[in-house]
């Protein structure tokens, strides 16, 4: 469920960070920007940003400077110097990104149920929904308990299997959606008829899951005692 993504970005190192090891400064700046924040996925640094095999002297240069040929495990670094004592570094790096592929099987925990479906969490990623049509059928929503129930049919009649919060659940990733959450300027929030006062915050990256196949759903449904 994790992939490596190659990126290029300009990292600005302010002068008070010049004394530190260069790679540490770069790693910190990139993490500030990207870790746990990137619009389309949660990320954390790969070896390109955090590796340093030797101390890189970090000084203010007045002209374009290129580092000597990097060792095989280092990625190229180019320095751009400005008149101001700030270093702008064009950095080519790789980041580890949470991005499951389509149809991948994942195991998570049920966060809760709502009429929209079953909400699942992986701890580090929360925005997974299994809509009602993708549950094991027939399914019904128990309003009183606010929980989805699989009305499992046996010879003796329907046996209700509850999808309780905290239960481990195996599901298949069937869809993903990326939503641009960048601010678009003063917008008039539409008055909704729902009882919520705050407008619902849309998650930038959400996964849609399905448990409508044998073997999917609560782990407890399929373990043989």
């Amino acid at each position: 469920m994790f992939v490596l993504v190659e990126m290029v970005d300009t990292v600005r190192i302010p002068p008070w960070q010049f004394e530190r090891k260069l790679n540490d400064s770069i790693a910190e700046e990139l993490n500030k920007k990207l870790a746990n924040k990137l619009e389309d996925a949660y990320v954390f640094p790969g070896d390109g940003a955090s590796h340093t095999k030797e101390k890189q002297p970090c000084t203010c240069q007045q002209s374009l400077l290129m580092l000597p040929a990097p060792s095989p495990w280092q990625l190229p670094i180019y320095f751009l110097a400005l008149d101001l004592p700030i270093l702008d570094i064009l950095f080519h790096f790789r980041y580890v990104v949470f991005h499951p592929f389509l149809d991948e099987i994942l195991i998570g925990k049920i966060k809760g149920c709502s009429p929209e479906g079953v909400h699942v969490s992986l701890g580090f990623f929360d925005d997974i929904l299994i809509p009602p049509e993708s549950l094991q059928q027939p399914a019904k929503f128990d309003e009183a308990e606010q929980v989805w129930v699989w009305e499992y049919e046996t010879e003796e009649g329907a046996h209700d299997l509850y999808m309780d919060t905290g239960e481990e659940i195996r599901f298949r990733v069937v869809d993903e959606s990326f939503v641009d959450t960048s601010p678009t300027g003063p917008s008039s929030a539409e008055a909704t008829s729902s009882s919520e006062e705050l407008p619902k915050k849309e998650a930038p990256y959400t996964l849609v899951g399905s448990i409508s196949e044998p073997g999917l759903g609560l782990l407890s449904w399929w373990t043989s005692s």
Binding site: V5, E29, S50, V96, G123
Partner: protein
């Protein structure tokens, strides 16, 4: 910021586990101010992801085990994504294999599924929860003292 390659490589949970564990060690050793706001997000995501992965079978894997597994998988003719899922999940039942291998009814006979299960469970070490359960079973079933 520019993305050069959005899918440069598929990573196994074990590789990510290794990476994060190393990162955690590095940061502990350098005794950095872990609580600076810039690093807070990194700390959170590292902690939560490690917590998740530590409960999966990758916990006890090693580069040698992964290599052995991939070599053994060669004869089964599975795609990269299928092998990755088997590696990450360590399925123990035929039903799980059928979920992870596309069109398994057409590609694998019952004996092949059994063989695949055997390969998976014999090469890959059990996950932490399965191990715990096994230990509990052993304790209640054995008369002798556990070694």
């Amino acid at each position: 910021m520019e993305v050069k390659d959005a899918n440069s490589a598929l990573l196994s949970n074990y590789e990510v586990f290794q990476l994060l564990t190393d990162l955690k060690e590095q940061r502990k050793e350098s005794g950095k101010n872990k609580h600076s706001s810039g690093q807070q997000n990194l700390n959170t995501i590292t902690y939560e992801t490690l917590k998740y992965i530590s409960k999966t079978p990758c916990r006890h894997q090693s580069p040698e085990i992964v290599r052995e597994f991939l070599t053994a998988m060669k004869s089964h003719k599975l795609t990269k994504a299928e092998k990755l899922q088997l590696l990450n999940h360590r399925p123990m039942t035929a039903v799980e294999i059928q979920l992870m291998v596309e069109e398994s009814e057409e590609r694998l006979t019952e004996e092949q599924i059994e063989a695949l299960l055997h390969t998976v469970t014999s090469i890959l070490p059990a996950g932490p929860e399965a191990e715990q359960k096994k230990n509990m079973d052993d304790v209640t079933m054995d008369e002798e003292d556990p070694a």
